[in-house]
Chain length 140, copies 4
Amino acid sequence: MQKKTLEASIKIPIRFNEVDSMGFVWHGNYAQYLEEARENFGKKYSLNYLEILSKGYYIPLVDLSIKYRKPIIYGMEIEVKAKYIFSDAAKIIFDYEIKNINGGELLTTARTVQVFLNKMYELEIVNPEFYTRWKEQFFV
Amino acid sequence: MQKKTLEASIKIPIRFNEVDSMGFVWHGNYAQYLEEARENFGKKYSLNYLEILSKGYYIPLVDLSIKYRKPIIYGMEIEVKAKYIFSDAAKIIFDYEIKNINGGELLTTARTVQVFLNKMYELEIVNPEFYTRWKEQFFV
Amino acid sequence: MQKKTLEASIKIPIRFNEVDSMGFVWHGNYAQYLEEARENFGKKYSLNYLEILSKGYYIPLVDLSIKYRKPIIYGMEIEVKAKYIFSDAAKIIFDYEIKNINGGELLTTARTVQVFLNKMYELEIVNPEFYTRWKEQFFV
Amino acid sequence: MQKKTLEASIKIPIRFNEVDSMGFVWHGNYAQYLEEARENFGKKYSLNYLEILSKGYYIPLVDLSIKYRKPIIYGMEIEVKAKYIFSDAAKIIFDYEIKNINGGELLTTARTVQVFLNKMYELEIVNPEFYTRWKEQFFV
C-alpha cells in the first residue's frame, strides 16, 4: 500500500547531436533521459545503481514503454520526473513524466521495470534483504 | 482483416561500444536495432522513411514498448524481425522479435506505433491516400 | 592576424549512460561535448549551424583531433571552452579545452576544422561572402 | 623496426540512426567504427580489450585524430582497416582506413594512441611484460 509519494525531478539539457533534421529529439535518445532521472532519484533516496551493485545485485531493465505525446525540440528546457511505484514484488518500477519547463506542458510519459540478478546472473524472485528494508522506510 | 503476413528479418552485428561492463547490450541501444529492422522492412515493401517523406509525411513514433527477456551479449549474432500489424487507422504498427541466430532463442519482443504528420507537423487522422493504396496491395 | 580572442564556454552535465564500467566517459562521447561547445559559441557570435545552413552552406568536419589528458569521471562538472582560431582560408577552426569546474584542472584539449559545402555538396574554396563579413567584424 | 605488417579489416554496416538529414554519417559516430576495427584486430592477433584487462591493464585512448575526406552515406558498404604501428614505447598505436567497398574509394583516415594503466589507474611507462612478449612475436 503506497503511503508516500517518492519522486525526484531533474532538468536535462538537450544536446545538439540528439536532434534530427527537424530539430526533434530522436525517439531512441529518451532512454538516456529516463536513466538520468532514475539515477537522480537513486541519489536522493539511496537506491542508485552503484549502491545496489555494492549489495551484490544487478538491476537490468525488463520492461520499457514510452508514450511520445509532443516532440522535444532543440532549445527546449525539459524536466524529467521519476516517480517510484510501490510493488510487493522484487521489482523496481518507475513512472516518468517529461515536461517543458517553460509552460509546463507534458511531453512524454514512460514506465520502466527492473529486476534483481545476483552475481551469478540469476533472477532473484524474493526481495533482497536490503531492498525490503529500503521499502519499509517509506511504505509500511 | 489481416490476410497476409508481412515481415522482414535482418541480421544485426553488435558493436563493442554498445555493451556495458558485463558485456550486455545497454537497453537504450535496442531502439537502433528496431529502427534498422523497420527500415529493412520498408525497403522490402516500399514503405521506408525516405519514400514516405517524399509523399509529404513525417512518421514519428508515438509509442515504443520493449520486453527484455534475455540479455544480448557481445559476440552474439542476432536477427531482428519486423512484422507489420494491420490497422484501419492512420498508423504504422510493427511487432518485433530479436533472436539469437545461434540456437534461435527469443531474446526480446517489442512494438512500435507511428503516426503521420503533414509538412506543417499536423497529425493526419485519416489515412493518407498513398498509404491506403499501399495497404490495399496486401489486405483487402 | 588575430586581434581579438573569440571564445565561449558552456557547462555540460555528464550523462550516466556516457560512462563505462570504471565510471569514465567513453572517448567516443567527447565529440558531442565539442559540438555542444561549438553550437554555444555559434549562438553567442551568430555562427551556428542553422544560420549557416540558411545562407546555403553545410559545414562538415574534415578534421578532428582530441588529446585525452585526464579522464572525465561520472559526477564531475565540466566546462567546455571553444576558441575560434582565425584563418584566411574558407575554414572554421576551433580549439577546445575541457576543464573540471571543481578545481579547474585541464582534462582534454581538442581541435576541429570545418569547411563549406554549397547546396550541391561542392567544396567552397573561396570564403563565402557572409563568412568574410563575419570575420571582418572581429579581425581586420 | 617494423618487419611485418599487422592489419585486420572488417565490414561495418551503417545504421539508419547514425546518419543526419543529408544521409551522411555524423562525424561523432566514427569513433565506434574505429573501436570495432580495433576489437576485430584484437581478436585476430590476441590483443583485444578483455584479454588485456585480464592481464591487469586498462588501455584508455590518449589521442584520437580523424580526417574526413569523403562522407559516408547511408546505404554504403564500408570496410574499416586497422593497421598496427610499431613503437618501442608502452603504447598501442593504430592507423585506420575506411573505404567504400563498392569501388574502393578511401573515405577516411584516422589514428589512435592508447596507453596502459594498472589496476590502480597509474600510467605504466615501461612496457608490460605480456605486451613485450606480444611484440616480440612479430617484430624482432
